[in-house]
Symmetry: C2
Subunit: 293 residues, 2 copies
């Protein structure tokens, strides 16, 4: 195992799941010159080939090999598969090997890590890079995907300050701005600003497609509808896992949202224009402020 210097080199990095995030991370780390070798682990041979072709990874290995050879293992697959990954890694995990991840939910991944890794959970520093796009796969990867974007770190009590610093430096090397918050805060915030909007956007598309005059409706959509439903083009598998992985927080945010929607429904049914305008005003002002930020 290579000696790790947090400011300059992370040795051998294994990226597990070389989709948009994983392959972009490989490109970013190599562009930054902070790795000796990038190993790729994945389910899809064509995608691994693509990652090799664009230079996001240097070699394809299995998870056991990755655990044995890597200095840093990064889990970039859908969050529901992370428990199985921890199980495959655990028997081969070297004491100085660090693990981080790119999962959009943190509570469920941390629970899996603690249950599977036991005492070795101190080697896992959970992360969530806020980057992505409508396109999937290594073919959509780009070296600057993380540039200037936030990566949320949710360190465990078990992590040593040195290990947290190392993983912070690792994500900074990929171009991102690191912010540390608790996993509970993380899951509540992203349930509200990301997971719930995806759910609601999928629901509108499903509702329109299920209606009798679906074709008529779809032929009349404008820019507003397209903006609102853009995130409904996202990976169904990934968002299924996120909604289930962050179930408690998503349901809480959804129920708060449904209170507002049902209140609006009542205002419309009762023809209460001033009540409706008051709510719309508050929302409109907040949205305008958001663009002003």
């Amino acid at each position: 195992m290579a000696i790790i210097n947090p400011s300059s080199n992370y040795g051998t990095v294994a990226i597990v799941g070389v989709g948009l995030i994983g392959a972009s991370l490989g490109l970013a780390l190599k562009k930054a010159g902070v790795v000796n070798e990038v190993l790729g682990v994945g389910r899809s041979a064509p995608n691994l080939d693509q990652a090799l072709k664009i230079g996001a990874i240097d070699a394809v290995v299995d998870l056991a090999k990755a655990a044995q050879q890597a200095d840093v293992i990064v889990l970039c697959m859908p969050v529901a598969q992370m428990r199985a990954a921890f199980e495959a890694i655990e028997p081969h995990l070297e004491p100085r090997t660090m693990i981080t991840d790119a999962g959009s939910t943190k509570g469920d991944v941390i629970l899996a890590a603690k249950e599977v890794l036991g005492k070795k959970a101190c080697q896992f520093v959970p992360a969530h890079p806020i980057a992505g796009g409508a396109q999937h796969g290594a073919s959509a990867a780009k070296a600057d995907l993380f540039e200037g974007k936030q990566t949320i770190l949710c360190p465990l009590q078990e992590n040593s300050p040195q290990d947290i610093d190392l993983i912070e430096g690792f994500w900074q090397s990929a171009g991102s701005v690191v912010k540390k918050i608790s996993c509970v805060q993380h899951d509540a915030i992203y349930a509200a600003v990301s997971h719930l909007p995806h759910l609601l956007s999928y629901a509108l598309m499903a509702s329109v497609v299920n209606s009798e005059d679906a074709d008529q409706k779809l032929s009349h959509v404008g820019a507003g509808f397209k903006d609102f439903t853009r995130i409904a083009a996202s990976s169904p598998e990934m968002w299924r896992d996120i909604c289930l992985g962050n179930r408690t927080a998503v349901l809480k945010e959804l129920d708060q949202y449904l209170l507002i929607v049902n209140h609006m429904r009542k205002l419309i049914a009762e023809n209460d224009g001033s009540g409706l305008e008051k709510l719309f005003n508050k929302a409109s002002k907040a949205r305008q402020d958001l663009d002003g930020l």
Copy 2:
């Protein structure tokens, strides 16, 4: 009153409400060279001044004068104000003067027109230009706002074929592509693809802003949240009127939507991954097809 030749000149046009739509219409008609004079009617003196300044209108008049002098009157104010406009226009309406509108809802406007104008309702050819933007007011107006965009015409049984042709030519002159559908169809379609998304987008902003950790949440929003809520920056007054004006269709679409959302809620609560993925898949496929159109 000038003689109207549908293919070339609409004489004196009165635009009632010189906001983004009204002022852009004035600019478009003048650019196309199909009007002798554009009269402006409005509530806001600064906005009327602005419309004069950019040349969207040539003179400011009141509604009675507009009704007396114009060959074509175009109602471009929020739909809830249209009944009062018909009332002000009716006593002064010349037999050959045509009325059209730019309202986002049609059933309520048509009902108001029939109740107020009586037999003169045959002079009203309802329209809905599908154009707009996040910005309001004459200062945001542009001559090409309607260029290549659809204008939906919902002719009344009372309209003569000649009058329908005239108003079709009128909206075409402004640059738009005219499509004719019934007002019931129009209201159902736009409830689903425009009015409901606005309501849901306002609701999400209101829900986030109402939450205890609103500032934290708002500091973590990304591109997806911004896309989803972009339409929540729209005019609260206008959308209040639209939601109330198209109440029946909006509530129907909302209830269909809530069925899907509550079904998704149940799938999440019961950890039913395959059911959730099936729904997400259907939605994702439909949204991707939309971009392929």
